[in-house]
């Protein structure tokens, strides 16, 4: 019933090579629309100067660039509703954007689209200590919620590596993970309710503490991870956790990534329940140690393994001892233990700032994201190494080893056109490798525009149509973040409109 468009039919944006689009191609918004937008949000919060729009041409994935027609920065649910209503009634696509830290191009503008940013919606509306619930606007930075709830002995568990900058709205859109999701689960597990602006500006409330999402259709669950394709979350109700009593952080130094990978498998198989298990490989160690976040990892190490246990203090030392044993049995050169909170923070900072620190060793990087069964880690890592060697590309690996979530960082120089092509080919091979190993094309960064082309590696036409149908329920005219997630497909025998809807452009 559906066929994939042939290569060449596909709109140019889905390629790394053609991602660069000059601002000259962007069509200006009609002046009546601009003045109506200004009336809603205030003149200074509507950006239409093509020069200023350059800064919005990409998110954290700079390989794709295209400036929007305009950027609007509303400050409330009502303003977002009015803005979306106005744009949609003019047939203008809306691209939601948080802090623009995403790594799959989820906030990349479409040629006809307007970005609606949540940067000004940065207030925590409520902290309900008794019920361990917080309600926040989408522009609140992830780490700020934990900072704000810490005085009450609470925290927000999902901790993406960009948590110091990324926003909760973006976390909801991407169903973000983070190192501690091994034990605590991803964003979806913590979102209990949402106020959402749907197509046309309709405001709906999904879930909410009073209403058990599991006794009705779980629309919250459906919305979380929809990558801005269903609507914009304007108020987010989140579950908080009590701060754990104890924590133990270990650092295992290994000669190779493979042996570190085997240690991970051994730790999990031994029945331990670490809060986080992270691998940082040699090239990454080199970058991080050159940065201001240097944590004293030995430079000659092939890999470092960060393992953390948390919970009731009693028993944690035993768990740490057992994990240490697992590391030593798999050939760890040494195993250190964080001696104080400062030391622990330092170890984690080195891991969490790894992406940014890559700038020390290469001008550009593509952070890939894929998941494989944990037991396949050593062979997949060796495979990635091999792909890097074949294409002559440096690939640095830093990843959530505990749940098999890989982040190969492909380092390159954008100015070298030839290298760009190699990056794209290597990326695709890595994806294929992970899928062949029984994994999938994303762990936590989302599909966005970058992974769209790989969707067919893991999903058949029936699943893709189910996803397209779900999108149509929320966004019948495909005016929310089109061209993301779903690959370009054509509905056989459908009307032109239906064809466009399915394609998502």
């Amino acid at each position: 019933m559906y066929r994939l468009l042939e290569k060449g039919d596909e709109e140019p944006v889905a390629s790394l090579l053609t991602g660069k689009v000059s601002s000259g191609m962007t069509r200006r918004l009609p002046s009546t629309v601009v003045s109506d937008l200004a009336e809603i949000v205030g003149h200074e919060h509507v950006i239409t100067d093509p020069d200023c729009l350059l800064v919005y041409e990409s998110d954290g994935l700079t390989a794709y660039r295209r400036p929007p027609r305009a950027v609007v920065l509303p400050s409330s649910t009502e303003e977002i509703s009015a803005v979306v209503g106005l744009l949609h009634s003019n047939g203008i696509e809306v691209i939601p954007r948080g802090a623009g830290t995403g790594l799959s191009g989820g906030a990349l503008a479409t040629p006809e689209g307007v970005i609606v940013g949540t940067a000004r919606m940065n207030r925590i509306l409520k902290i309900d200590v008794e019920n361990r619930i917080a309600i926040a606007q989408p522009g609140v930075i992830n780490a700020r919620l934990t900072e704000a709830t810490n005085p009450y002995g609470l925290y927000y568990a999902p901790d993406p590596s960009s948590q110091s900058a990324c926003t909760l709205g973006g976390n909801v859109a991407e169903n973000s993970g983070g190192p501690h999701c091994l034990k605590y689960g991803v964003t979806a597990r913590y979102v209990t309710g949402l106020t959402v602006v749907l197509a046309g500006g309709r405001i709906v409330e999904l879930g909410g503490v009073g209403r058990d999402p599991y006794t009705t259709l779980d629309l919250v669950g459906l919305f979380v991870g929809s990558e801005g394709c269903f609507g914009i979350a304007t108020e987010i109700e989140l579950r908080l956790l009590p701060i754990t009593e104890g924590v133990r952080t270990l650092l295992g130094i290994f000669e190779s990534v493979e042996s570190a990978g085997r240690a991970v498998t051994k730790i999990i198989a031994s029945g331990l329940m670490p809060a986080a298990v992270e691998i940082v490989d040699g090239p990454t160690i080199e970058a991080v140690e050159a940065s201001v976040f240097a944590a004293g990892y030995p430079l000659e190490a092939g890999a470092a393994l960060v393992i953390e246990f948390d919970g009731t203090d009693a028993g944690l030392d035993l768990d740490a001892d057992r994990a240490e044993q697992c590391c030593l049995e798999e050939g760890a050169i040494e195993v250190q233990r964080a001696t104080d909170p400062e030391h622990r923070t330092k170890l984690w900072r080195a891991r969490k700032k790894a992406f940014g620190a890559m700038g020390r060793i290469a001008p550009d990087l593509l952070v890939q994201d894929a998941t494989v069964p944990r037991t396949k880690l050593p062979e997949v890592l060796a495979g990635i190494d091999d792909i890097g060697n074949r294409y002559g590309l440096k690939i640095a690996n830093v990843f959530h080893a505990g749940d098999g979530n890989l982040h190969p960082n492909i380092l390159f120089d954008r100015q070298n056109q030839n290298e760009l092509e190699l990056v794209e080919r290597a990326s695709k091979e890595i994806m294929q490798l992970c899928v062949d190993a029984g994994g999938t094309i994303t762990g936590e960064h989302g599909v966005g525009v970058d992974k769209r082309q790989y969707m067919t590696l893991v999903h058949g036409p029936a699943e893709l149509e189910a996803m397209a149908a779900a999108k149509r329920v929320f966004d019948p005219d495909s005016l929310f973040n089109p061209g993301k997630v779903l690959p370009a497909v054509e509905v056989k025998g459908a009307t032109d409109t239906a064809k466009i809807l399915a394609i998502g452009e």
Binding site: Y56, S291, V292, G359
Partner: protein, 445 residues
């Protein structure tokens, strides 16, 4: 539109710095550290956005004379809070100066900025300028004007300038003379082994805060340092570099390098955070000058904030001054120089001075040169938040070791009719030493 060759020349300053721009991977970690982005929400007013605009100029996609480039580069406070949070180590401060130079060459800056830079960079103009300032201050006309002028229209800027001027008045510590004890010095001071220290006198510091310079000399001497006077020194050039007049900044830097080299001092003590940051960067400023780069780097290595010198030897403990002090970090000390604890160590050498760190002390006060005049609305917003945070400390005085911050916070407090004094940490230590009798020679002070 500018013609191609002219355009190329304008973009040259930045273009030569391509390598400095390349480490930015667009991760966005700098966004939450930026005071302008936090308040405006526009990414063109974030460090990443500004770097992106600089990159666009280098790539030839954006005119340096464009409104977008000039506005957003100009709107940066230059607080450099983005630098310590950058995993890639982008040298934002240096790039900003180059971008400012590029933008300024494409379209000159506003009159107030040009006037101020001209005056501060020219010794002959500086003296009468600050003389008038001291006159307005001494006759209390500044205080009067700040109190009675309305806060709208053209009066707003005048009122702010007068309030800044009035705020440079010395704060009399509240504690009564009788309550002070005698010298409680721990006595572990080997006076003979200390280094020879030269003191940067600066432009604003010399014009309006001579008392801080004198206090710096006395406090250093009381801690066993040999203070040498340096003839021929000039304004450090920081404000010129921040304002995009790199040529003038380099000229001033060269004069200072020559003067301080000739002094034979081991260290250069600086009591203004902005000047210290600029002098520590002299090597970068003069990297294109083969005759001077080596000398600039050597001089830069000897530059210290006065608090760093005092803290390194553990300052002598003075006499008690019971008071509550709110401490606020100058951006150019915390972010640009990475000096966090030293000034607090200085304050803690005063017994019974209770030190509180202002909430959000790591965020810019909005001083940033004459930001309050060039960007009244945004500057007012940022300054207002700082003043509220200072007032919430319920302190007797706020201490911050930079003249710009002292004047900005002082003016804000004054305009809100709040009574906190404004001091430099060495001032309090100096007063504490005076009360302890450290300065008495044969019984006379």
């Amino acid at each position: 539109m500018t013609s191609a060759p002219v355009y190329e020349a304008l973009g040259q300053a930045l273009d030569a710095q391509k390598e400095r721009l390349r480490p930015c991977v667009h991760c966005g970690f700098c966004l939450p550290a930026c005071p302008t982005y936090n308040r405006l929400g526009n990414e063109a007013d974030s460090p990443r956005g500004r770097l992106h605009l600089m990159q666009a100029v280098v790539e030839g996609r954006l005119e340096p004379s464009s409104e977008a480039f000039r506005t957003h580069i100009d709107r940066c406070l230059g607080c450099r809070a983005c630098e310590p949070v950058c995993p890639s180590g982008v040298e934002y401060g240096t790039l900003l100066e180059l971008a400012r130079e590029t933008a300024t060459k494409a379209a000159p800056q506003g009159l107030p900025t040009r006037f101020l830079l001209k005056v501060l960079g020219t010794r002959a103009l500086r003296s009468p300028f600050f003389f008038i300032g001291r006159l307005l201050r001494g006759t209390r006309l500044a205080a009067l004007g700040a109190a009675v002028l309305p806060s709208y229209g053209p009066f707003r800027a005048v009122r702010l300038v007068l309030a800044m001027l009035a705020s440079t008045t010395r704060w009399q510590p509240m504690a009564s003379e009788e309550a002070t004890s005698r010298n409680t010095d721990s006595g572990n001071h080997d006076v003979s082994r200390r280094s020879r220290v030269a003191v940067l006198l600066g432009c604003v510091q010399e014009g309006l805060f001579t008392r801080i310079n004198s206090a710096t000399v006395r406090v250093l001497e009381a801690n066993g340092y040999e203070v040498v006077l340096v003839e021929g020194q000039d304004c450090c050039g920081a404000l010129h570099a921040h304002g995009g007049d790199l040529e003038c900044a380099r000229m001033l830097a060269r004069s200072n390098i020559k003067a301080f080299e000739a002094s034979g001092a081991d260290l250069i003590a600086v009591n203004a955070a902005g000047c210290g940051a600029a002098m520590k960067d002299y090597g970068t400023l003069l990297e294109g000058d083969p005759d001077f780069v080596q000398r600039a780097e050597e001089v830069a290595l000897t530059v210290r904030d006065v608090s760093e010198i005092l803290a390194s030897s553990g300052p002598r403990i003075g006499a008690s001054i019971p008071c509550k002090i709110a401490y606020d970090h100058p951006c150019h000390l915390l972010h640009a120089q990475g000096v966090e604890h030293a000034p607090i160590t200085v304050l803690e050498a005063v017994p019974d001075a209770e030190v509180h760190i202002v909430a959000g002390a790591e965020e810019c006060c909005g001083g940033a040169g004459i930001y309050g005049i060039t960007h009244p609305e945004l500057g007012g917003l940022i300054g207002g938040d700082k003043v509220s945070a200072v007032r919430a400390c319920l302190a007797d005085a706020v201490a911050t070791p930079n003249p710009g911050c002292m004047m900005q916070i002082g003016a804000g407090l004054r305009l809100e009719a709040s009574n906190e004094g404004v001091i430099h940490p060495v001032e309090l230590l100096d007063e504490s030493y005076r009360r302890a009798g450290f300065y008495r020679v044969g019984g006379a002070e």
